[in-house]
């Protein structure tokens, strides 16, 4: 009897040991079909990274959203969700103070410098979680095209390549460029007979803008550019972008809008993003392979910045592609072609 009890106790002990080892071992991650949310804690901020797609080759495309104050999941539409995610994993990241990010910090801790460090922290977390052999492609859209270069100039060793999508590498140049491109676009549309009242109003706005930078005037121009692109789509001058992104059900609109306004106020009004910041002269420090993608009719980040980015990047391996029927968001206007260009670039370098 005693032997039986000891035998059973041994069995139970071994079972517990096996269970213990199993529970302590690294969790299984289904790399081929990733669907998870992790947070990055860095300098008093907790920032979510929503990771989807095929990570079987440990290739990750990190998206830096626009704004400032946008959010990562706003990009999870057809181009990324249905095409790029099948090729590689995509990391939709909410930057500090944006989307569903949380934290407790002062306005002093909202700066391009610290946000660039956040991006590098995200890269470290991805490599810690999925393996040091992970290959990271960094993509920045619009304001993400300011933040991306800021991060890469600090440390591009973490990344395999850089993809600039209608990126704002020269925010302080916008004020004067807006006046030119908005007038050009307004004149073109008036000649074509498209939304004449709107474009005449845009010409009036441009004429009444002061010669020297003011943030209020900047936003008048910026709003005219954003609304102008909607008119271009309505008039079929560009392809109307898709709006089937998946962010809606997952994000509290009030939180996202509140955070967006906060970031615009801090970085735009208080810290002079569009008055003082330019990376044009520092793009030469980026030497990893780079791809520049721009919509031909972009007036939010004027399209002539595409060539400027391409010319100034220090990479010996660099490409540029202009989407003929797009404005500021080619991933929405020409989603299939956009996905092809991104996948080709990634697959060549992975």
């Amino acid at each position: 009897m005693k032997k039986i009890v000891i035998y059973k106790l041994k069995i139970v002990g071994i079972a517990l040991l096996v269970l213990g080892i199993y529970s302590c071992s690294k969790e299984d991650i289904n790399l081929s079909d990733l669907n998870e949310t992790i947070f990055v804690r860095h300098k008093n901020a907790d920032m979510p990274a929503y990771i989807y797609g095929n990570g079987s080759e440990k290739v990750f495309l990190i998206i830096l959203h626009g704004g400032p104050g946008g959010h990562g999941l706003q990009y999870r539409s057809r181009s990324f969700r249905d095409e790029i995610e099948k090729n590689n994993a995509v990391v939709y990241f909410d930057q500090r103070g944006s989307g569903n990010s949380q934290g407790n910090y002062s306005e002093d801790e909202i700066s391009i410098d610290i946000m660039a460090e956040d991006v590098l922290a995200l890269a470290k977390v991805i490599k810690a979680r999925y393996g040091k052999d992970s290959k990271l492609f960094l993509m920045g859209h619009s304001w993400g095209g300011t933040l991306g270069p800021a991060a890469l100039i600090k440390d591009q060793g973490e990344f395999t390549a850089w993809i600039d999508v209608d990126g704002a590498h020269d925010p302080k140049g916008f004020y004067n460029k807006y006046k030119v491109v908005l007038k050009e676009m307004a004149d073109t549309q008036i000649v074509l007979g498209n939304s004449i009242d709107y474009w005449q109003n845009v010409n009036d706005i441009v004429q009444n803008i002061g010669a020297n930078y003011s943030t209020d005037d900047f936003f008048k121009l910026n709003r005219a550019a954003l609304a102008g692109e909607e008119k271009l789509a309505e008039d079929n001058f560009i392809i109307n972008g898709e709006t089937d992104f998946e962010g809606n059900p997952q994000l509290n609109f009030i939180t996202v809008k509140w955070n967006s306004n906060g970031m615009t106020n801090i970085l735009g009004y208080k810290k002079g993003l569009w008055r003082d910041v330019s990376y044009t002269n520092r793009l030469s420090k980026i030497t990893i392979p780079s791809l520049v993608l721009f919509g031909k009719h972009d007036i939010v980040v004027p399209a002539e910045y595409a060539q400027e980015a391409f010319d100034n990047l220090g990479s010996s391996d660099k490409e540029i592609f202009i989407f003929e029927n797009s404005a500021h968001s080619p991933m929405s206007s020409e989603p299939d072609l956009f996905a092809i260009k991104v996948i080709e670039f990634i697959n060549r370098l992975k």
């Binding site: 949310t37 992790i38 947070f39 804690r41 407790n104 470290k124 977390v125 979680r129 609109f253």
Partner: protein
């Protein structure tokens, strides 16, 4: 400050308890359970209790007879959990303590106004990694705590002499602070039912 307000509320509760004629704790206490959230993104459950601190009845002579309007000041405590079922980024526990002013009409319709100066919100985060320099470590029990005062107003209806003593529908406006570099406003609805354990 917070400790002083809690102490003050406790003292007032004890005073009120000792001064009232109907001083049975259970006779002056109701429990409530209900929905808590904004329907679109966050949804959850709330449990709470209300204690009648002050009560004033006003009799009005009408053509059809006397009508009674009751005004109450209640101590209010609540705890709830809400989450966004489609994401893992909005899970949290809310708890608050405050006062309710309530007017009950002769037909038992109620108006509620809540002031909850003592509120706490605990956000629960999914897997979180902390980066310090080049070190990456996994955070145990990741989350964040916020001071979360709130106000609410709404309607309801009482039931007389029933265990299930009424329902309420409130719009709640809360704040979470410090949240990022400022505060976060949070809107939610509260719909629920009140119960009592009064001696029959």
């Amino acid at each position: 400050m917070k400790k002083s307000i809690i102490a003050l509320l406790l003292v007032y509760t004890m005073q009120a308890h000792s001064q009232t004629e109907d001083s049975s704790f259970l006779n002056r206490t109701e429990f409530k359970v209900g929905y808590f959230g904004n329907i679109l993104w966050d949804n959850g459950l709330n449990l709470g209790t209300e204690y009648v601190w002050k009560e004033k009845e006003k009799l009005k002579e009408k053509r059809r007879g006397q009508k009674t309007i009751t005004k109450q000041l209640l101590l209010n405590g609540s705890i709830g959990y809400s989450t966004n079922f489609t994401s893992q980024t909005d899970n949290g526990l809310t708890t608050y303590l405050g006062l309710i002013w309530r007017r009950t009409s002769p037909k038992r319709w109620q108006l509620n106004f809540e002031l909850n100066p003592l509120g706490y919100y605990r956000a629960f985060l999914p897997e979180t990694y902390e980066v310090k320099g080049n070190e990456v470590s996994k955070v145990r029990f990741p989350g964040r705590s916020y001071y979360a005062p709130s106000i609410a107003f709404g309607i309801g209806r009482a039931r007389e002499e029933k265990r299930h003593s009424g329902w309420y529908l409130n719009l709640n406006l809360g704040l979470r602070t410090p949240y990022n570099a400022g505060i976060l406003p949070v809107f939610s609805f509260q719909y629920g039912h009140r119960f009592n354990l009064k001696k029959k």
